[in-house]
Symmetry: C2
DNA sequence: AACTGTGAACTTCTTCACAGCC
DNA sequence: GGCTGTGAAGAAGTTCACAGTT
Protein backbone atom coordinates (compact mmCIF):
# COMPACT_ATOMS: atom_id res chain seq x y z
CA UNK A 1 0.00 0.00 0.00
CA UNK A 2 1.35 3.33 -1.06
CA UNK A 3 -1.19 6.05 -0.45
CA UNK A 4 1.25 8.78 -1.39
CA UNK A 5 3.72 8.59 -4.19
CA UNK A 6 7.24 8.52 -2.81
CA UNK A 7 8.44 11.00 -5.38
CA UNK A 8 8.12 14.65 -4.53
CA UNK A 9 9.46 16.91 -7.29
CA UNK A 10 12.70 18.62 -6.37
CA UNK A 11 11.32 22.08 -7.03
CA UNK A 12 8.53 21.29 -4.61
CA UNK A 13 10.90 20.10 -1.90
CA UNK A 14 12.75 23.41 -2.03
CA UNK A 15 9.51 25.30 -1.53
CA UNK A 16 8.32 23.00 1.26
CA UNK A 17 11.40 24.06 3.18
CA UNK A 18 10.38 27.68 2.71
CA UNK A 19 6.80 27.00 3.83
CA UNK A 20 8.16 25.32 6.91
CA UNK A 21 10.13 28.41 7.80
CA UNK A 22 7.12 30.68 7.34
CA UNK A 23 4.89 28.34 9.35
CA UNK A 24 7.38 28.29 12.19
CA UNK A 25 7.31 32.07 12.28
CA UNK A 26 3.52 32.10 12.23
CA UNK A 27 3.30 29.50 14.99
CA UNK A 28 5.71 31.51 17.12
CA UNK A 29 3.45 34.48 16.61
CA UNK A 30 0.54 32.50 18.02
CA UNK A 31 -1.28 32.09 14.74
CA UNK A 32 -3.49 28.97 14.53
CA UNK A 33 -4.78 28.82 10.96
CA UNK A 34 -3.67 30.24 7.65
CA UNK A 35 -5.01 30.21 4.09
CA UNK A 36 -3.08 29.19 1.01
CA UNK A 37 -3.24 32.77 -0.22
CA UNK A 38 -1.64 34.22 2.85
CA UNK A 39 0.96 31.52 3.16
CA UNK A 40 1.80 31.83 -0.52
CA UNK A 41 2.26 35.55 -0.27
CA UNK A 42 4.56 35.18 2.74
CA UNK A 43 6.58 32.58 0.86
CA UNK A 44 6.65 34.55 -2.37
CA UNK A 45 4.82 32.01 -4.54
CA UNK A 46 1.54 31.56 -6.34
CA UNK A 47 -1.33 30.23 -4.16
CA UNK A 48 -2.37 27.52 -6.59
CA UNK A 49 1.20 26.32 -6.76
CA UNK A 50 1.41 26.16 -3.01
CA UNK A 51 -1.71 24.02 -2.85
CA UNK A 52 -0.32 21.74 -5.51
CA UNK A 53 2.92 21.42 -3.59
CA UNK A 54 1.05 20.44 -0.45
CA UNK A 55 -1.11 18.00 -2.38
CA UNK A 56 1.94 15.77 -2.70
CA UNK A 57 1.62 15.05 1.01
CA UNK A 58 -2.05 14.15 0.80
CA UNK A 59 -4.83 16.31 2.22
CA UNK A 60 -3.43 18.78 4.74
CA UNK A 61 -6.07 21.46 5.04
CA UNK A 62 -9.73 22.00 5.67
CA UNK A 63 -11.81 23.21 2.76
CA UNK A 64 -13.46 26.49 3.40
CA UNK A 65 -11.14 27.18 6.30
CA UNK A 66 -7.45 26.80 5.50
CA UNK A 67 -4.52 25.04 7.11
CA UNK A 68 -3.83 24.43 10.77
CA UNK A 69 -0.49 26.13 11.33
CA UNK A 70 0.87 23.73 13.93
CA UNK A 71 -0.32 20.57 12.23
CA UNK A 72 1.04 21.59 8.85
CA UNK A 73 4.35 22.58 10.36
CA UNK A 74 4.66 19.19 12.05
CA UNK A 75 3.76 17.43 8.87
CA UNK A 76 6.34 19.26 6.83
CA UNK A 77 8.89 18.64 9.52
CA UNK A 78 8.21 14.94 9.28
CA UNK A 79 8.20 14.84 5.50
CA UNK A 80 11.44 16.76 5.19
CA UNK A 81 12.98 14.41 7.72
CA UNK A 82 13.97 17.13 10.12
CA UNK A 83 12.58 15.33 13.14
CA UNK A 84 15.90 14.09 14.39
CA UNK A 85 18.90 16.33 13.94
CA UNK A 86 21.22 15.09 11.25
CA UNK A 87 24.93 15.23 11.78
CA UNK A 88 26.97 17.36 9.37
CA UNK A 89 30.66 18.01 9.01
CA UNK A 90 32.10 21.19 7.56
CA UNK A 91 35.46 21.38 5.85
CA UNK A 92 37.22 24.68 5.26
CA UNK A 93 36.83 27.15 8.09
CA UNK A 94 37.57 30.39 6.32
CA UNK A 95 35.21 33.32 6.31
CA UNK A 96 32.37 31.45 4.67
CA UNK A 97 32.87 28.29 6.67
CA UNK A 98 32.82 30.23 9.92
CA UNK A 99 29.66 31.97 8.84
CA UNK A 100 27.92 28.67 8.13
CA UNK A 101 29.17 27.02 11.32
CA UNK A 102 27.71 29.87 13.27
CA UNK A 103 24.49 30.19 11.29
CA UNK A 104 21.55 29.59 13.59
CA UNK A 105 19.35 28.72 10.62
CA UNK A 106 20.94 25.27 10.45
CA UNK A 107 20.76 24.35 14.10
CA UNK A 108 17.12 25.25 14.36
CA UNK A 109 16.21 23.24 11.32
CA UNK A 110 17.33 19.76 12.05
CA UNK A 111 21.01 20.01 11.27
CA UNK A 112 23.84 19.78 13.72
CA UNK A 113 27.46 20.34 12.94
CA UNK A 114 29.50 17.65 14.62
CA UNK A 115 32.87 18.51 13.18
CA UNK A 116 34.68 21.52 11.74
CA UNK A 117 37.89 20.83 9.85
CA UNK A 118 40.65 22.88 8.36
CA UNK A 119 44.08 22.17 6.94
CA UNK A 120 45.69 25.33 8.28
CA UNK A 121 47.48 24.87 11.62
CA UNK A 122 46.65 28.48 12.43
CA UNK A 123 42.94 27.68 12.51
CA UNK A 124 43.04 24.41 14.38
CA UNK A 125 41.79 24.74 17.91
CA UNK A 126 39.95 27.98 17.19
CA UNK A 127 36.47 28.10 18.58
CA UNK A 128 33.69 28.69 16.01
CA UNK A 129 30.16 28.60 17.29
CA UNK A 130 30.01 25.73 19.76
CA UNK A 131 32.86 23.70 18.29
CA UNK A 132 36.61 23.78 17.99
CA UNK A 133 38.28 23.47 14.61
CA UNK A 134 39.99 20.11 14.15
CA UNK A 135 42.81 19.04 11.86
CA UNK A 136 41.73 17.49 8.59
CA UNK A 137 43.40 14.20 9.59
CA UNK A 138 40.58 13.52 12.00
CA UNK A 139 37.89 13.78 9.33
CA UNK A 140 37.43 10.05 8.78
CA UNK A 141 37.36 9.25 12.50
CA UNK A 142 34.75 11.87 13.27
CA UNK A 143 32.52 10.83 10.37
CA UNK A 144 32.72 7.22 11.51
CA UNK A 145 32.12 8.04 15.16
CA UNK A 146 29.19 10.38 14.58
CA UNK A 147 27.65 8.72 11.56
CA UNK A 148 27.58 12.08 9.80
CA UNK A 149 25.80 11.71 6.47
CA UNK A 150 26.15 15.27 5.24
CA UNK A 151 29.28 17.19 4.37
CA UNK A 152 29.69 20.86 3.53
CA UNK A 153 32.71 22.06 1.58
CA UNK A 154 33.86 25.66 1.94
CA UNK A 155 37.48 25.18 1.02
CA UNK A 156 39.40 26.92 -1.76
CA UNK A 157 38.62 25.47 -5.18
CA UNK A 158 41.97 23.71 -5.50
CA UNK A 159 41.40 21.28 -2.64
CA UNK A 160 37.65 20.77 -2.96
CA UNK A 161 37.92 17.61 -5.06
CA UNK A 162 40.25 15.73 -2.72
CA UNK A 163 38.10 16.76 0.23
CA UNK A 164 35.05 15.51 -1.64
CA UNK A 165 36.80 12.20 -2.27
CA UNK A 166 37.64 11.80 1.39
CA UNK A 167 34.14 12.65 2.51
CA UNK A 168 32.66 10.12 0.11
CA UNK A 169 35.14 7.45 1.15
CA UNK A 170 34.39 8.13 4.80
CA UNK A 171 30.72 7.41 4.23
CA UNK A 172 29.14 10.81 3.70
CA UNK A 173 26.23 10.45 1.29
CA UNK A 174 25.31 14.08 0.62
CA UNK A 175 27.64 16.98 -0.07
CA UNK A 176 26.91 20.68 -0.31
CA UNK A 177 29.69 22.38 -2.25
CA UNK A 178 30.40 26.10 -2.01
CA UNK A 179 33.74 25.94 -3.80
CA UNK A 180 33.60 27.25 -7.37
CA UNK A 181 34.38 23.96 -9.06
CA UNK A 182 32.32 21.09 -10.38
CA UNK A 183 32.94 18.05 -8.23
CA UNK A 184 32.89 14.43 -9.30
CA UNK A 185 31.61 11.92 -6.77
CA UNK A 186 30.95 8.18 -6.86
CA UNK A 187 27.44 6.89 -7.51
CA UNK A 188 25.33 7.00 -4.40
CA UNK A 189 26.82 10.27 -3.27
CA UNK A 190 24.76 13.32 -4.08
CA UNK A 191 26.55 16.61 -4.65
CA UNK A 192 24.73 19.92 -4.68
CA UNK A 193 26.47 23.11 -5.63
CA UNK A 194 25.97 26.66 -4.51
CA UNK A 195 27.98 29.29 -6.34
CA UNK A 196 27.47 32.68 -4.79
CA UNK A 197 29.08 34.62 -7.58
CA UNK A 198 26.87 32.90 -10.14
CA UNK A 199 23.86 34.16 -8.23
CA UNK A 200 25.23 37.67 -8.40
CA UNK A 201 25.95 37.40 -12.08
CA UNK A 202 22.48 36.18 -12.89
CA UNK A 203 21.01 39.00 -10.87
CA UNK A 204 23.18 41.57 -12.60
CA UNK A 205 22.38 40.20 -16.03
CA UNK A 206 18.64 40.22 -15.48
CA UNK A 207 18.95 43.74 -14.14
CA UNK A 208 20.79 45.06 -17.17
CA UNK A 209 18.46 43.19 -19.53
CA UNK A 210 15.54 45.03 -17.96
CA UNK A 211 16.96 48.38 -19.01
CA UNK A 212 15.34 49.48 -22.27
CA UNK A 213 17.56 52.52 -22.74
CA UNK A 214 20.57 52.47 -25.06
CA UNK A 215 22.84 49.77 -23.79
CA UNK A 216 26.19 50.27 -25.39
CA UNK A 217 27.02 46.87 -26.74
CA UNK A 218 28.30 45.81 -30.14
CA UNK A 219 31.99 45.84 -29.39
CA UNK B 1 19.93 45.69 -35.33
CA UNK B 2 18.93 42.69 -33.35
CA UNK B 3 20.01 39.51 -35.05
CA UNK B 4 19.57 37.53 -31.82
CA UNK B 5 16.62 37.66 -29.53
CA UNK B 6 17.31 39.74 -26.43
CA UNK B 7 15.86 37.10 -24.22
CA UNK B 8 18.21 34.50 -22.89
CA UNK B 9 16.47 31.99 -20.61
CA UNK B 10 17.36 32.47 -16.96
CA UNK B 11 18.53 28.88 -16.58
CA UNK B 12 20.90 29.48 -19.46
CA UNK B 13 22.29 32.67 -17.96
CA UNK B 14 23.20 30.80 -14.78
CA UNK B 15 25.10 28.20 -16.79
CA UNK B 16 26.83 30.82 -18.94
CA UNK B 17 28.33 32.18 -15.75
CA UNK B 18 29.67 28.71 -14.97
CA UNK B 19 31.10 28.28 -18.47
CA UNK B 20 32.82 31.62 -18.09
CA UNK B 21 34.51 30.46 -14.92
CA UNK B 22 35.69 27.22 -16.54
CA UNK B 23 36.92 29.06 -19.62
CA UNK B 24 38.90 31.47 -17.50
CA UNK B 25 40.59 28.54 -15.81
CA UNK B 26 41.35 26.93 -19.17
CA UNK B 27 42.71 30.16 -20.58
CA UNK B 28 44.97 30.60 -17.57
CA UNK B 29 46.23 27.10 -18.22
CA UNK B 30 47.26 28.11 -21.72
CA UNK B 31 44.55 26.16 -23.49
CA UNK B 32 43.51 27.58 -26.86
CA UNK B 33 40.56 25.48 -28.03
CA UNK B 34 38.02 23.26 -26.36
CA UNK B 35 35.14 21.05 -27.51
CA UNK B 36 31.60 21.19 -26.20
CA UNK B 37 32.06 17.76 -24.68
CA UNK B 38 35.06 18.73 -22.63
CA UNK B 39 33.65 22.06 -21.57
CA UNK B 40 30.37 20.43 -20.61
CA UNK B 41 32.06 17.82 -18.51
CA UNK B 42 34.08 20.48 -16.68
CA UNK B 43 30.91 22.44 -16.05
CA UNK B 44 28.87 19.42 -15.04
CA UNK B 45 26.27 19.62 -17.79
CA UNK B 46 25.17 17.78 -20.90
CA UNK B 47 27.14 18.65 -24.08
CA UNK B 48 24.05 19.18 -26.21
CA UNK B 49 22.64 21.49 -23.58
CA UNK B 50 25.83 23.49 -23.54
CA UNK B 51 25.70 23.94 -27.30
CA UNK B 52 22.10 25.03 -27.06
CA UNK B 53 23.00 27.52 -24.38
CA UNK B 54 25.74 29.00 -26.54
CA UNK B 55 23.44 29.09 -29.55
CA UNK B 56 21.58 31.95 -27.87
CA UNK B 57 24.61 34.12 -28.54
CA UNK B 58 24.79 33.19 -32.19
CA UNK B 59 27.54 31.05 -33.70
CA UNK B 60 30.52 30.91 -31.35
CA UNK B 61 32.46 27.89 -32.49
CA UNK B 62 33.98 26.28 -35.51
CA UNK B 63 32.37 23.08 -36.76
CA UNK B 64 34.68 20.17 -36.75
CA UNK B 65 37.04 21.98 -34.40
CA UNK B 66 35.43 23.38 -31.27
CA UNK B 67 35.50 26.71 -29.49
CA UNK B 68 38.31 29.19 -29.20
CA UNK B 69 38.86 29.51 -25.47
CA UNK B 70 39.85 33.15 -25.40
CA UNK B 71 37.25 34.31 -27.88
CA UNK B 72 34.43 32.50 -26.16
CA UNK B 73 35.51 33.79 -22.78
CA UNK B 74 35.49 37.35 -24.08
CA UNK B 75 32.12 36.86 -25.66
CA UNK B 76 30.58 35.54 -22.48
CA UNK B 77 32.18 38.36 -20.56
CA UNK B 78 30.52 40.86 -22.87
CA UNK B 79 27.15 39.15 -22.86
CA UNK B 80 27.04 38.84 -19.10
CA UNK B 81 27.98 42.47 -18.85
CA UNK B 82 31.04 41.89 -16.75
CA UNK B 83 33.25 44.16 -18.83
CA UNK B 84 33.17 47.07 -16.47
CA UNK B 85 33.03 46.39 -12.76
CA UNK B 86 29.63 47.06 -11.29
CA UNK B 87 29.38 48.76 -7.95
CA UNK B 88 27.69 46.83 -5.14
CA UNK B 89 26.82 47.69 -1.58
CA UNK B 90 26.55 45.15 1.18
CA UNK B 91 24.38 45.60 4.25
CA UNK B 92 24.84 43.50 7.37
CA UNK B 93 28.46 42.75 8.18
CA UNK B 94 28.07 39.69 10.37
CA UNK B 95 29.80 36.43 9.66
CA UNK B 96 28.19 35.91 6.29
CA UNK B 97 28.52 39.54 5.23
CA UNK B 98 32.22 39.51 6.09
CA UNK B 99 32.67 36.34 4.12
CA UNK B 100 31.05 37.86 1.04
CA UNK B 101 32.92 41.14 1.37
CA UNK B 102 36.14 39.22 1.38
CA UNK B 103 35.21 36.72 -1.30
CA UNK B 104 37.65 37.03 -4.17
CA UNK B 105 35.14 35.39 -6.51
CA UNK B 106 33.22 38.65 -6.72
CA UNK B 107 36.09 40.98 -7.35
CA UNK B 108 37.48 38.89 -10.15
CA UNK B 109 34.16 38.65 -11.88
CA UNK B 110 33.14 42.18 -12.52
CA UNK B 111 31.75 43.17 -9.16
CA UNK B 112 33.20 45.68 -6.78
CA UNK B 113 31.96 46.39 -3.31
CA UNK B 114 31.90 50.13 -2.80
CA UNK B 115 30.24 50.19 0.60
CA UNK B 116 29.82 47.93 3.62
CA UNK B 117 27.14 48.93 6.10
CA UNK B 118 26.06 47.80 9.53
CA UNK B 119 23.76 49.11 12.22
CA UNK B 120 25.90 47.97 15.11
CA UNK B 121 28.28 50.64 16.45
CA UNK B 122 30.66 47.88 17.45
CA UNK B 123 31.22 46.96 13.82
CA UNK B 124 31.49 50.43 12.34
CA UNK B 125 35.01 51.31 11.40
CA UNK B 126 36.13 47.68 11.32
CA UNK B 127 38.16 46.78 8.30
CA UNK B 128 36.76 43.95 6.15
CA UNK B 129 38.63 43.13 2.98
CA UNK B 130 39.66 46.45 1.49
CA UNK B 131 36.90 48.54 3.04
CA UNK B 132 35.83 49.92 6.37
CA UNK B 133 32.36 49.28 7.70
CA UNK B 134 30.18 52.39 7.62
CA UNK B 135 27.09 53.32 9.58
CA UNK B 136 23.80 52.56 7.92
CA UNK B 137 22.96 56.27 7.80
CA UNK B 138 25.42 56.75 4.99
CA UNK B 139 23.78 54.17 2.78
CA UNK B 140 21.86 56.62 0.60
CA UNK B 141 24.82 58.93 0.16
CA UNK B 142 27.15 56.18 -0.90
CA UNK B 143 24.65 54.70 -3.35
CA UNK B 144 24.13 58.13 -4.88
CA UNK B 145 27.83 58.93 -5.03
CA UNK B 146 28.91 55.62 -6.50
CA UNK B 147 25.88 54.84 -8.64
CA UNK B 148 25.74 51.38 -7.12
CA UNK B 149 23.04 49.37 -8.84
CA UNK B 150 23.35 46.18 -6.84
CA UNK B 151 22.71 45.58 -3.17
CA UNK B 152 23.39 42.51 -1.08
CA UNK B 153 21.49 41.93 2.16
CA UNK B 154 23.06 39.79 4.86
CA UNK B 155 21.25 41.23 7.84
CA UNK B 156 19.09 39.38 10.36
CA UNK B 157 15.65 38.57 9.00
CA UNK B 158 13.89 41.21 11.11
CA UNK B 159 15.55 44.19 9.46
CA UNK B 160 15.88 42.86 5.91
CA UNK B 161 12.66 44.44 4.66
CA UNK B 162 13.42 48.00 5.81
CA UNK B 163 16.91 47.67 4.40
CA UNK B 164 15.42 46.49 1.12
CA UNK B 165 13.11 49.50 1.09
CA UNK B 166 15.99 51.88 1.64
CA UNK B 167 18.11 50.26 -1.06
CA UNK B 168 15.26 50.49 -3.53
CA UNK B 169 14.54 54.11 -2.62
CA UNK B 170 18.20 54.97 -2.98
CA UNK B 171 18.21 53.71 -6.55
CA UNK B 172 19.48 50.17 -6.33
CA UNK B 173 17.85 48.08 -9.06
CA UNK B 174 18.96 44.56 -8.15
CA UNK B 175 19.05 42.97 -4.71
CA UNK B 176 20.53 39.68 -3.60
CA UNK B 177 18.93 38.61 -0.34
CA UNK B 178 20.52 36.13 2.04
CA UNK B 179 18.14 36.82 4.91
CA UNK B 180 15.58 34.06 5.41
CA UNK B 181 12.54 36.15 4.56
CA UNK B 182 10.65 36.90 1.38
CA UNK B 183 11.15 40.53 0.48
CA UNK B 184 8.71 42.83 -1.26
CA UNK B 185 10.18 45.43 -3.58
CA UNK B 186 8.68 48.01 -5.93
CA UNK B 187 8.32 47.25 -9.62
CA UNK B 188 11.59 47.72 -11.46
CA UNK B 189 13.62 46.34 -8.59
CA UNK B 190 14.62 42.73 -8.96
CA UNK B 191 15.10 40.64 -5.82
CA UNK B 192 16.85 37.31 -5.86
CA UNK B 193 16.95 35.12 -2.82
CA UNK B 194 19.52 32.64 -1.59
CA UNK B 195 18.54 30.57 1.42
CA UNK B 196 21.45 28.46 2.54
CA UNK B 197 19.45 26.30 4.90
CA UNK B 198 16.95 25.51 2.16
CA UNK B 199 19.80 24.17 0.07
CA UNK B 200 20.83 21.92 2.93
CA UNK B 201 17.30 20.70 3.46
CA UNK B 202 16.83 19.82 -0.18
CA UNK B 203 20.11 17.96 -0.16
CA UNK B 204 19.19 16.06 2.98
CA UNK B 205 15.76 15.16 1.67
CA UNK B 206 17.05 13.87 -1.64
CA UNK B 207 19.65 11.88 0.25
CA UNK B 208 17.17 10.18 2.53
CA UNK B 209 14.77 9.57 -0.36
CA UNK B 210 17.51 7.75 -2.20
CA UNK B 211 17.77 5.17 0.55
CA UNK B 212 14.65 3.01 0.55
CA UNK B 213 16.36 0.26 2.56
CA UNK B 214 19.82 -1.25 2.69
CA UNK B 215 21.08 -0.69 -0.79
CA UNK B 216 23.80 -3.12 -0.04
CA UNK B 217 26.95 -1.17 0.06
CA UNK B 218 28.94 -0.30 3.11
CA UNK B 219 32.48 0.43 4.00
C1' DA C 1 36.15 12.59 -39.62
C1' DA C 2 35.07 15.66 -36.09
C1' DC C 3 32.34 18.79 -34.01
C1' DT C 4 28.97 22.60 -33.99
C1' DG C 5 24.16 24.43 -34.41
C1' DT C 6 19.28 23.46 -34.13
C1' DG C 7 14.57 21.70 -34.99
C1' DA C 8 11.75 18.26 -32.77
C1' DA C 9 10.46 15.04 -29.07
C1' DC C 10 10.21 14.70 -24.38
C1' DT C 11 10.09 15.78 -19.61
C1' DT C 12 9.38 18.82 -15.86
C1' DC C 13 7.37 22.74 -13.80
C1' DT C 14 3.77 26.32 -13.47
C1' DT C 15 -0.66 28.26 -13.95
C1' DC C 16 -5.49 27.97 -14.57
C1' DA C 17 -10.16 26.67 -13.72
C1' DC C 18 -13.34 24.41 -11.32
C1' DA C 19 -15.26 20.50 -8.67
C1' DG C 20 -15.76 19.20 -3.83
C1' DC C 21 -16.18 20.12 1.00
C1' DC C 22 -16.87 22.83 5.10
C1' DG D 1 -19.41 32.07 0.81
C1' DG D 2 -14.84 30.68 1.20
C1' DC D 3 -11.13 27.78 0.58
C1' DT D 4 -8.84 23.37 -0.55
C1' DG D 5 -7.50 19.68 -3.85
C1' DT D 6 -6.62 18.41 -8.57
C1' DG D 7 -7.05 17.35 -13.56
C1' DA D 8 -6.02 19.79 -17.66
C1' DA D 9 -3.73 23.34 -20.30
C1' DG D 10 0.31 25.91 -20.99
C1' DA D 11 5.19 27.33 -20.47
C1' DA D 12 9.87 26.33 -19.69
C1' DG D 13 13.61 23.54 -19.79
C1' DT D 14 16.13 19.31 -21.25
C1' DT D 15 17.61 15.73 -24.26
C1' DC D 16 17.98 13.64 -28.74
C1' DA D 17 19.22 13.09 -33.38
C1' DC D 18 21.00 14.73 -37.31
C1' DA D 19 21.93 18.21 -40.83
C1' DG D 20 25.65 21.33 -41.91
C1' DT D 21 30.50 23.01 -42.01
C1' DT D 22 35.39 22.85 -41.94
Amino acid sequence: MQPRPRTIPEATVARLAVYLRVLTTLADGGRSTVSSGELASAAGVNPAGLRKDLSHLGPCGVRGVGYDVGALRDRLTRVLGVESARACVLVGIGNLGSALADYAGFGTRGFEFVGLFDASPARIGQRVGALQVRPLDELEDVVAATGASIGVITTPAEVAQPVCDRLAAAGVRSILNFAPVTLAAPAGVDVRKVDLSVELQVLAFLGQQRVPAGVGETA
